[in-house]
C-alpha cells in the first residue's frame, strides 16, 4: 500500500515536472498576433497580375489585417504592366512595394542587380518564423527550388505554381455518337490524347467551323503567350532552349535542334484547326473562346482553369470540361513551369511585416482557400484536400507540377524570350521557315549570353 502511494506520488511529481517544463515553452509559443505586434498599424503594399489567384489573395488580406493590425494594399495590373512597374520601381529604389509577385523568369535579373532580400534571414528569426511553417517539407521541393531560388539561395515562396496542361470538352469527349464516329474514322477509341498524333486527330475531328466549333486554339499573337505555349511542344518533343540542369545555369544553345524544329512545325500544323484570328490570340482570348464553348481542346494555364471549368457565371462550359497532362512525345511526360513568387525587395522598410503576411498566406488554410478560389498552390497537401480533389483540373495540375521543366531565369532571360517570341511569330506569319526562325533565335541567344552559351547546332 505504502509502495502504491509512493508510486502514485512519483507519477504525480513527474506530471508536475512535465507541466512546469512546458510552461516556459507555452509562455513563448509563437503566435502571429505576437509576432506582428511591432508592426501593428503599418501598411504593406504589393503588386501582381490581375488574375483569380491575386483576387483571392486580396479577398483574404482583411483577415490578416484583423489578426495583426497590418494593412495590405494590393495593386493589380495586366501581366506586362505588373512586370514593368516592378522593374522601374526596383531600379529607382523607391521601395513602393514591400513584397512583389513576379514570374520566375525575372528572378535572375532581380538577384544579379541586388534588388531582392533573401528570405533565409526571416526563416532563421524565431520571432518571425512560425515553427509550423516548414517550406522544405510542405512545398513541391523541385518546383520551389526552381521558381523561388537562384544559385542556391532562397528568395521567396511560390505564389502560384503555374503550369500548362491539356483542356478538353468532356461532354464532347464522352458523347456516344462522337465516340462511334471517331472510332470509325481513326480506328481507335475517343479519349484524351496520349500522343501528339492523337492530339491532332482530336483537333481535326472536332474542327467544325461551320457550326462554330474549332478543333483547337493556338495563342499565336506576338506576345509572351506564344513562347510559353510552344515550350510545351518543345519539351515534349525532346527539345529545350539551353542544355542545362537548372534555370539559373548558362549552357549550350540547343533551341535549333532537330527536335525543336519538329516541335515548331507540328505546332504550326495545328493552326489549320484554330479560328482564323489565331495569330491575334493570347491567353485571355483563348480562355474566352473556351468559356464560350467554341473550342474543343487547347493547352492552357492552370490559373485560368477555374474561370472556365468551375465558374458558372463566366463560363458556358462550366462542369463540362476535362483536363489531362500534355500528350507525350520523345521528351516523355513533361510540362513547363512558370511560377510567380512572393519576393521581398531589398529596399523595403517593412520587410518583416511583408514576411509575416507571406508566411501567413503559405499556411495550409490560406493556400486551400486561395486554391479553391482560382489559385494554383505549390503545396501537395492542398491537392489532397477533398474539396480540391473534386475540382476537375486537380489531377492534371498535380501531375504536371511533378514533371514540370524549368526555364531560364538568367538576367538575360527577358531578352531571350523577346528573341524567341519574335522568331516564332515570324514563322507563324510565314515570313521564315521553322529552321530559319530557330537558327536566328539560337544565333541571337548565343550572342546575348556570350561565351557560356555556344551553339550546339551550327547555324549556316
Amino acid at each position: 500500500m505504502a509502495c502504491e502511494t509512493q508510486w502514485k506520488g512519483l507519477v504525480r511529481a513527474l506530471g508536475i515536472v512535465a507541466v512546469l517544463w512546458q510552461v516556459p515553452h507555452l509562455a513563448g509559443a509563437w503566435t502571429l498576433e505576437e509576432a506582428a505586434k511591432p508592426y501593428r498599424g503599418m501598411t504593406i503594399r504589393t503588386i501582381g497580375e490581375a488574375l483569380p489567384p491575386l483576387e483571392a489573395m486580396k479577398a483574404m488580406a482583411p483577415e490578416f489585417t484583423k489578426r495583426t493590425g497590418i494593412k495590405v494594399d494590393v495593386e493589380m495590373y495586366e501581366h506586362s504592366e505588373a512586370v514593368n512597374k516592378v522593374m522601374l520601381d526596383l531600379n529607382a529604389r523607391r521601395a513602393r512595394y514591400d513584397f512583389i509577385l513576379q514570374p520566375h523568369r525575372e528572378l535572375g535579373k532581380f538577384v544579379a542587380n541586388g534588388h531582392l532580400q533573401p528570405v533565409d534571414r526571416f526563416l532563421a528569426d524565431a520571432r518571425l518564423r512560425d515553427p509550423s511553417f516548414e517550406p522544405d517539407r510542405v512545398l513541391y521541393p523541385a518546383l520551389w527550388r526552381e521558381i523561388s531560388w537562384y544559385k542556391g539561395k532562397v528568395y521567396g515562396f511560390p505564389f502560384t505554381a503555374l503550369t500548362m496542361y491539356a483542356w478538353y470538352r468532356a461532354d464532347l469527349l464522352n458523347d456516344p455518337k462522337e465516340k462511334a464516329g471517331f472510332k470509325a474514322k481513326y480506328g481507335y477509341d475517343l479519349h484524351a490524347a496520349k500522343t501528339w498524333k492523337e492530339y491532332r486527330d482530336l483537333a481535326e475531328w472536332f474542327h467544325r467551323p461551320d457550326k462554330g466549333l474549332y478543333g483547337t486554339a493556338i495563342q499565336g499573337k506576338r506576345h509572351e503567350a506564344l513562347w510559353y505555349e510552344w515550350l510545351n511542344f518543345l519539351y515534349s518533343f525532346g527539345g529545350d532552349v539551353l542544355d542545362v540542369k537548372s534555370g539559373s545555369d548558362c549552357g549550350p544553345v540547343i533551341v535549333n535542334s532537330p527536335a525543336a524544329v519538329e516541335s515548331l512545325e507540328y505546332y504550326k500544323s495545328l493552326m489549320k484547326f484554330s479560328p482564323p484570328d489565331t495569330l491575334n490570340y493570347f491567353w485571355d482570348d483563348v480562355m474566352a473562346l473556351m468559356q464560350q464553348g467554341k473550342v474543343f481542346e487547347l493547352i492552357m494555364w492552370n490559373d485560368a482553369t477555374y474561370a472556365v471549368a468551375e465558374d458558372k457565371e463566366q463560363s458556358t462550359v462550366a462542369g463540362r470540361m476535362a483536363f489531362d497532362v500534355l500528350p507525350q512525345g520523345k521528351g516523355g511526360a513533361t510540362g513547363q513551369v512558370e511560377g510567380w513568387s512572393y519576393l521581398i525587395p531589398a529596399y523595403s522598410k517593412k520587410q518583416q511585416a511583408a514576411y509575416l503576411f507571406i508566411q501567413w498566406m503559405m499556411a495550409y488554410d490560406q493556400q486551400l482557400k486561395q486554391h479553391l478560389n482560382g489559385g494554383a498552390s505549390a503545396r501537395p497537401d492542398v491537392y489532397a484536400a477533398a474539396d480540391v480533389r473534386k475540382l476537375a483540373y486537380s489531377k492534371a495540375s498535380m501531375e504536371t507540377n511533378e514533371v514540370a521543366r524549368p526555364k531560364a531565369t538568367l538576367p538575360q532571360s527577358a531578352e531571350m524570350t523577346d528573341i524567341m517570341v519574335r522568331e516564332l511569330s515570324t514563322y507563324l506569319a510565314g515570313q521564315k521557315s521553322a529552321k530559319a526562325a530557330l537558327d536566328t533565335s539560337a544565333k541571337d541567344i548565343a550572342k546575348l549570353l556570350g561565351a557560356c552559351a555556344p551553339l550546339k547546332y551550327p547555324v549556316p
Partner: protein, 309 residues
Amino acid sequence: MSVLRSGARGRWLLDRGTPWLLLVPASVLVIVFLVGPFYYMGYTALTDLSFADPDRKGAFVGIDNFRRLFVEDDIFWASLGRTLRFVVAAVGIEFVLGFGLALLIHRSIRTPRAVLTLLMVPMMLAPVAVGLLWKLLLQGDFGMVTHYLRALGILSRDSSIFSDPALVMPAVIAIDVWQWTPFVTLVVLAGLMSLPREPFEAATMDGAGPWRQFRDVLLPLMRPIIALVLLLRVIDAFKEFDKVFILTGGGPGTVTELLAIYTYRVNFKNWDLGYGAAVAFMVYLMVLILCTIFYKAVYWRSNRPAGAS
C-alpha cells in the same frame, strides 16, 4: 529725387523684367521636361546602361551603341523602312482625303459646324481608345466590321484581318486614316475659309477654269497651311506606337513592327537602356532631318522670286 529715381528704376525693371519673368514658368517646364531629358538621353546613348545586366552599370562606351545600330542591327533598319512606308501611305491618304473633304465642305455646306463636330470625334479619342475600339470591331470571331466584311464577301470565312500578314498593315493604315483625316480636313478648311476672294475673282475674269484656279491660285495660297498640316502629321505618324501596340503588338511576325515599337522593346522589354537611348536618339534625328528637308522644300518654293521656274 532719389525716390523719383528709384521709382523710375522700378518701372524700368518692371518694363524690361516682366517679359523675362513671364517666360520663367514655361522655360522651366521646357528645360525640365524637354531639354533636360533630351540631353540625358543623348548622354545615356553613349553608355552601356542596362537594367538587366548587372555588369553594365552605365560606363561610357563612346559611339559603340551607334556603331552597333548602323552596322549590326538589321531589325532597326527593317523597322525604319516599314515606318517610312507607313508614314507615306497613311499621311498621303489622310492628306488627299482630308483636303478633298475640306473642299467639299467649303463649297457645299454653308454652316459646317454640325458636320465638323461629327468629323472631329475620331480625332478627339485617345490613340489607346482607338486601338481598343478597332481591335473589337475587327476581332476575327465576333468583330462587327469583320462580320459585315464577311457578309459582303470582302473577307473570306477562314481569314481574319489581324492574323493575315497581307491585310494587317493596310488595316493599321486605314485606322490611322480614320482617326487623322478629320484633323487634315479641319486645318485645311480653316485655311480655305481665310483665303482672300480677290485672286479667285481675278482668275475667273482672266478665264481660268476650276482646275486652273485650283492649281495656280488655291494651292499656292494654301502652301503654308499644307506644309503645316503635313509636317504635324509626318511627325506624329513617325512616332506611331499606341494604336499599333494595342492592335497587333508589332506582329504577326514583324509585319507591323514600327520604329517606335522596336524602341519600346529595346528599352522596356530588354531594359537595354544605353542602346535603347541610341535608337531613340536616331528616331529623333530622323524626324528632325525629315522635317527640315520637308520644311525647306515647301518654303523654298514659296520664297522663290516671281517668274522663276
